[in-house]
């Protein structure tokens, strides 16, 4: 390894150094503010470094990591999102009667894992990144455990996630082992030379391995029918941790999935296409229908994330059948859009909540339009974007997905997408409707105070991004077109 190899790793190194720095700082003197500041600074530096390097870097660093424009693009996205989550976490944890600092340490380490994942084109780095991310997430999900108010929920959520995540990781590992047994290498591209019409038993390890690998990934992405853990974990975990899991956790895994599917051309196998199609249709329908029955925002967002991951799978399937790269751009743009709107929606809920009391019921938001118009407007924007209404980034994202589907003539899946979006409207608009009702007399969450200014700032940035990318997305589209060529 030379200096030329280290330079592309700059964002990863910065985030890792931040983790070390936070650890040392905690050892010297505990201070919530200082820890959060270090974390924000480190993540901001990493974001800037990755953004500056993006146009000039395209390099395989060791066989494990590929640092190209695509991975750097998602490094920027993940680091920025992690920074936003730190800012949102700060007021949330402010009144926790326990040590708060290690939370930021876990968050930064998880981000290291996410960066490794988005830069991975090798099974080893996938597992390394994934486990780094997941291990830290277990801690984050269970974080308010020793709090006085301690409910069992965070522990339950974390244990549930720990067990199921470990099981799915072992599925993936076994799948990788089977693929290795056939090909003898662990690079994503290893499958490309295999004959997809294999008949003899010894030739069919790979396809079994492939399906195991896909089901493991589907677990992590909470795609139906592997989605059962999602609502419980989302509901039990503290909000910023849920936001992290829902945005960065999902995005990093999805980038791995996309890169793997594209590089290995796994969709040559009919079985894989069928499995993906079923997973997509089931996720869209199950996610949207089950979300209708929920009264808690976190559960609604959990089911909605299941549906959104299903939408994305359509574009992944389309990527193999289409001549142009639009479907890859569709995945990329939609992941960015999903990051913005999902983070925004969780952000709104977390800005009014704290570790002592989460305001999670839809009815808690009754009359928000008349109590806190700005927050209500932001929340409305995020929800309408999730529903795919114009003027928001969600609409452009959905447009991309529809285009990818049409280009590859995936008519049945498009029909499911239309039906799913139709059902989806219902529960998103229901929340908006509650915000429009007259202000109730029952106890409410307090309005903004000084310590939440940072969170409001984050939400405002996300809201402006939402509108900007919904009205004039051309520059970002051009950027995504460029970076998508690298995959």
């Amino acid at each position: 390894m030379t200096l030329a190899d280290l330079l592309p790793l700059m964002p990863l190194l910065i985030v890792s150094a931040t983790a070390v720095l936070v650890m040392l700082q905690i050892g010297v003197r505990r201070s919530h503010t200082v820890t959060a500041t270090i974390a924000v600074t480190g993540l901001l530096l990493a974001t800037l470094a990755a953004a500056l390097m993006m146009s000039a870097t395209n390099q395989q660093v060791t066989p494990l990591l590929i640092i190209d424009q695509y991975s750097l693009f998602f490094t920027v996205v993940c680091c920025a999102a992690a920074m936003f989550i730190v800012i949102l976490s700060y007021p949330y944890l402010a009144r926790l009667d326990d040590d708060k600092d290690e939370y930021y340490l876990l968050l930064v380490i998880a981000t290291v894992g996410a960066i490794v994942m988005v830069s991975s084109n090798h099974f080893v780095s996938t597992i390394l990144g994934l486990e780094t991310l997941s291990m830290s997430l277990y801690g984050m999900l269970a974080y308010p455990l020793h709090s006085k108010e301690s409910a069992q929920h965070p522990l339950e959520a974390a244990v549930k996630y720990l067990v199921l995540s470990a099981v799915s990781s072992s599925f993936m590992l076994f799948g990788m082992a089977l693929i290795y047994a056939q090909t003898g290498t662990l690079a994503f591209s290893s499958l490309i030379d295999l004959n997809s019409n294999a008949v003899s038993l010894s030739d069919s390890y790979a396809i079994v391995g492939l399906l195991l690998l896909i089901s493991g990934m589907a677990f992590k992405l909470s795609l139906a029918p592997f989605h059962m853990w999602t609502p419980d974990v989302y509901e039990g975990a503290p909000l910023p941790a849920t936001a992290y899991l829902a945005t960065i956790g999902k995005t990093a895994m999805f980038v791995v999935l996309l890169r793997f599917v594209v590089m290995s051309e796994a969709l040559r196998y009919d079985a894989v296409v069928i499995v993906f199609s079923l997973i997509a249709a089931l996720s869209i329908l199950a996610g949207n229908v089950l979300a209708l029955l929920q009264n808690k925002l976190k559960r609604i967002l959990a089911y909605s994330s299941i549906a959104h991951m299903g939408y994305l799978i359509i574009a992944v399937i389309a990527s193999y059948f289409a001549a142009s790269t639009i479907s890859i751009e569709a995945v990329t743009f939609y992941l960015l859009a999903y990051m913005i709107m999902s983070l925004g929606a969780f952000g709104v809920v977390s800005v009014v909540s704290s570790s002592e009391k989460e305001f999670d019921l839809v009815s808690d938001y009754q009359g928000l339009f008349w109590r806190d118009p700005w927050l209500a407007l932001i929340f409305t924007g995020m929800l309408l974007s999730l529903a795919g209404i114009p003027l928001t980034v969600g609409f452009i994202g959905k447009f991309y997905l529809f285009f990818a589907g049409v280009e590859s003539a995936l008519w049945p899946l498009l029909l499911v997408l239309v039906v799913g979006s139709g059902i989806g409207l219902f529960y998103y608009v229901r929340i908006v409707y509650h915000m429009l009702l007259p202000v109730p007399t029952s106890p409410q969450f307090p309005s903004a105070t000084g310590e939440r200014l940072g969170s409001y700032g984050v939400l405002t940035i996300l809201f402006l991004l939402l509108l900007l990318l919904g009205v004039y997305p051309a520059p970002v589209m051009a950027l995504i077109e460029t970076v998508s060529a690298f995959i």
């Binding site: 049409v406 219902f426 409707y433 051009a478």
Partner: protein
């Protein structure tokens, strides 16, 4: 630039109206009125415009999303201009009808009103299909808010139904638009959503039929036509008066406009094959909804059903696809925009005064509110198609044109005129004639029309009389545009007819 200004003024005016509520709760309505008046004046300046180039008076074409070949392409011809004028005119009337009715959260109300209208202006001017779809969706959310916040007892259900119907069918249209754009890409090698580019696309007739159906369902849901009409009576009966005015007067017309501008010209062959079914649906819609109207006791639901019935004539005229029938469809759109809006306003002002829409409670109002009764009689007669008023011209021309292309359906549809007289006169008789009794409601607020109300009803009466007496001024304006549309499909239609 003037087209951007037209839409921009309303978007900006909406934001200003919302913000100004903090200063004074009466300010938003003034701002809304000013924005709409400014728009109307700007539109009037377009009237004398030179329409040499294929009927387009003014156009604007700027790149927007180059990756997909999407441009910000707005243009106005005589057809669009007529509908723009209708939109601005009814927008002003709607502000007038909300003037004293909307007292709570007026800033947000006028914001939604102006944004809906901005979306409608966009729909009437967009010539890029992506842009068109964009505006098509922009209209929805503010309208949802108008119904859901300021509506009556069952507003949530009605607003949600409206939203789901239009949004889901909108998605089908999106799939159709994308498919069309994709076939353009296959044939010509570059992405484009531009109207003129997409006109050149050739596809096999099966595919063309499917794509066309996506458009047809979206537009006829908005129009609406049986069997996609069931959202409309709910939406109308629950919406505040100004909402009904916009909904009946302007929003429904976007569906008809979409059919004339996009559905038929883009898919002439499929439309020609589909025309018998469309005209049968139109005839069914006319008769069925006239019958349904007769069965209602809720005044607003009744007017809503008559609205659907009259829109049947528009669909009939469009699918006859000749100049006379199209002129009739356009005239019906304009005249119905005024008469239906006026009837909804009358129903609204009655509800405002006696807090009921149930016609079983009403009777003998002529003695109590003579001016209102006379106005109601006028608009009922207009709606039933009295010669000398706008609706007659429209429906007569539509039937005359349709007569040439599909005789049986036209004959059936003509019966709609008779049913229209029956239910219109029945309403007048039920509410305004007979014995007056105030046992079922509190009549302390039952006062006659005030000056403001007289002013806007007067303006609408003038409009209808003008359309009825001198329709040529409107026909001239839309003639060039319609001929251009017809010319584009002429060749194909004549060859198919010959075979």
């Amino acid at each position: 630039m003037i087209l951007v200004a037209l839409i921009g003024i309303l978007f900006l005016g909406g934001v200003l109206a919302w913000l100004s509520e903090r200063l004074d709760s009466k300010l938003p309505r003034v701002i809304a009125l000013a924005a709409l008046l400014l728009d109307l004046v700007l539109m009037l300046t377009l009237l004398g415009g030179d329409s040499a180039d294929g009927g387009w008076i003014v156009a604007l074409n700027v790149q927007w999303l180059p990756r997909f070949g999407i441009s910000f392409h707005l243009a106005v011809d005589g057809l669009s201009l007529l509908l723009l004028l209708l939109t601005a005119f009814l927008g002003i009337i709607a502000v007038g009808s909300a003037w004293s009715e909307i007292t709570e959260r007026s800033g947000f109300f006028y914001f939604n009103l102006l944004w809906t209208l901005a979306g409608v202006l966009g729909v009437f001017t967009a010539l890029d299909l992506f842009l068109f779809f964009f505006f098509w969706e922009v209209m929805l959310i503010p309208m949802y808010f108008i119904i859901a916040i300021w509506g009556y007892e069952n507003k949530n259900y009605a607003a949600m139904k409206f939203f789901l119907f239009t949004q889901v069918t909108g998605m089908l249209m999106l799939v159709s638009i994308l498919t069309l754009a994709y076939f353009h890409y296959v044939q010509f090698g570059f992405f484009s959503f531009d109207y003129f580019d997409l006109l050149k696309v050739n596809t096999s007739s099966t595919i063309e039929m499917w794509i066309m159906l996506g458009f047809f369902v979206a537009f006829t849901t908005k129009l609406p036509i049986v069997p996609f009409h069931s959202w409309l009576p709910d939406a109308h009966s629950q919406a505040p008066t100004a909402g009904s005015v916009i909904l009946a007067g302007v929003l429904l017309k976007t569906g008809a406009y979409g059919l004339i501008r996009f559905a038929v010209p883009l898919f002439p062959e499929a439309s020609l094959n589909f025309a018998p079914i469309a005209m049968a649906l139109a005839a069914l819609s006319i008769l069925y909804c006239a019958k349904m109207a007769f069965a209602q006791t809720d005044l607003k639901r009744l007017i809503a059903y008559t609205s659907v019935s009259h829109m049947g004539f528009v669909l009939l005229g469009i699918y006859a696809w000749n100049e006379i029938a199209l002129q009739g469809a356009v005239m019906t759109m304009l005249a119905h925009g005024l008469s239906a809006a006026a009837l909804f306003m009358l129903a609204g002002s009655l509800q405002h005064r006696i807090h009921s829409r149930d016609m079983r409670d009403m009777g003998g109002f002529w003695a109590k509110v003579p001016r209102m009764s006379a106005v109601a009689l006028f608009f009922s007669i207009a709606a039933l198609g009295m010669p000398g008023l706008g609706n007659f011209i429209g429906e007569f021309l539509a039937l005359l044109g349709a007569f040439r292309s599909n005789l049986p359906m036209t004959v059936i549809a003509t019966f709609g005129l008779i049913f229209a007289s029956v239910y219109s006169l029945w309403v007048i008789q039920k509410i305004f004639h007979g014995e007056y009794s105030n046992s079922k409601f509190d009549d302390s607020d039952l006062t006659d029309l005030n000056r403001r109300e007289l002013a806007y009803f007067g303006a609408m009466i003038l409009g209808l009389v003008w359309m009825g007496m001198y329709p040529q001024s409107f026909l001239d304006l839309s003639a060039a545009a319609l001929q251009e549309l017809l010319a584009g499909t002429q060749e194909l239609v004549s060859t198919v007819v010959q075979n």
